[in-house]
Symmetry: C2
Subunit: 205 residues, 2 copies
């Protein structure tokens, strides 16, 4: 039924299957680390089919990154939502989820940052920027609900912590990274919600 008109073999499903199968390969091997021919072979599809659905390797890459960004963001948002009403618990849940991810054997860092570092194409950089926007929205929301004096500031600081922890876990070792980042995040949250002592000094911003 959802099949448009005079088509067969359900192209929509084929497209989705390509996307799903190509994602881990491109993530683990790198966007330019695997050729289209090998990619097609490893996911069991012909080059003609891939090119009819995505037009270009860049087209596939962009579709894959967009889908992955949405999926990952939804995953983190759900982890946060399931933690209850306390923003502190929500933030902890985000970093618990990240810790789980870091310990996955196929973990290779943030796919969006990796892609932007590899592929010098404007469209990819835009997808990465949007991805960070999504993260920022999630974290700023937590900061607001926690009563931070400057939620956008705290949101951005937490964003740095998330991406920094991901980079450190990927390139400097997983051991303890998730827990260390979690502690730092909660410390920042406490200090921002209760700016009693310290913090301000030197320059005034």
């Amino acid at each position: 039924m959802p099949v448009p008109k005079g088509s067969t073999i359900d192209p929509e499903r084929t497209r989705a299957a390509i996307l799903e199968a190509a994602t881990p390969v491109l993530y683990e091997r790198g966007l330019d680390g695997v050729g289209v021919a090998e990619l097609c072979a490893s996911i069991g599809v012909s080059k003609e089919t891939l090119y009819r659905h995505f037009g270009t390797k860049d087209g596939l890459v962009e579709a894959m990154l967009t889908a992955r960004s949405e999926r990952v963001t939804r995953w983190l948002a759900e982890a946060s939502a399931e933690a209850g009403d306390d923003p502190r618990d929500q933030l902890a849940a985000v970093f618990d989820a990240l810790r789980e991810w870091y310990e996955d054997p196929v973990f290779r860092g943030c796919a969006m940052l990796n892609a932007a570092a590899q592929h010098h194409v404007e469209a990819v950089r835009a997808i990465t920027a949007r991805h960070l926007d999504r993260y920022l929205d999630l974290l700023t929301g937590i900061a607001e609900r926690a009563g931070a004096t400057d939620p956008p500031l705290l949101g951005r600081q937490l964003l740095m912590l998330v991406e920094g922890a991901t980079a450190v876990a990927a390139h400097h070792g997983t051991a303890g990274t998730g827990e260390q980042a979690r502690q730092a995040a909660l410390t920042l949250l406490s200090a921002a919600a209760r700016p009693s002592a310290s913090s301000r000094r030197g320059s005034g911003v």
Copy 2:
């Protein structure tokens, strides 16, 4: 005088000149974003000369990354040392230096993380790991002098903040990033040196 034996035209100087000229090109365009031919043309050297000095493109990349890591680490260490004896000022100076870097028009993020994301070669990953080790040493030293209750923990948290701020500045916008990261770093330092309230909660590590 430092020229070894029966050589001419000072090969050592040629090698250093290649390294210096190739560094910004490889950083701005990406390791795989510029071919050897174009690279040689842009730095004014023949392919034969480049290959005699570095053997391989990977050899050049590894030599370049190693030199850059040492140079950048030395730069940050000097900025920290020039800030005086107060570890708090030393940490602030590190982030002030980073903010300067972020505002440079050619800033493209951390060259080591970019390289590790692009080039799936073990040697490059090892150089990146060593680079993070150098950063960690610097930051852990500050944490120790600040009297943190757990300097290795604070050092690693600050490392995440440094790399996270660099990634966010590169891919989500420079505006304010350096200052925001600086504030977060000082907050973490204050909380770690004076673990009076908050921080500990939930899991025990």
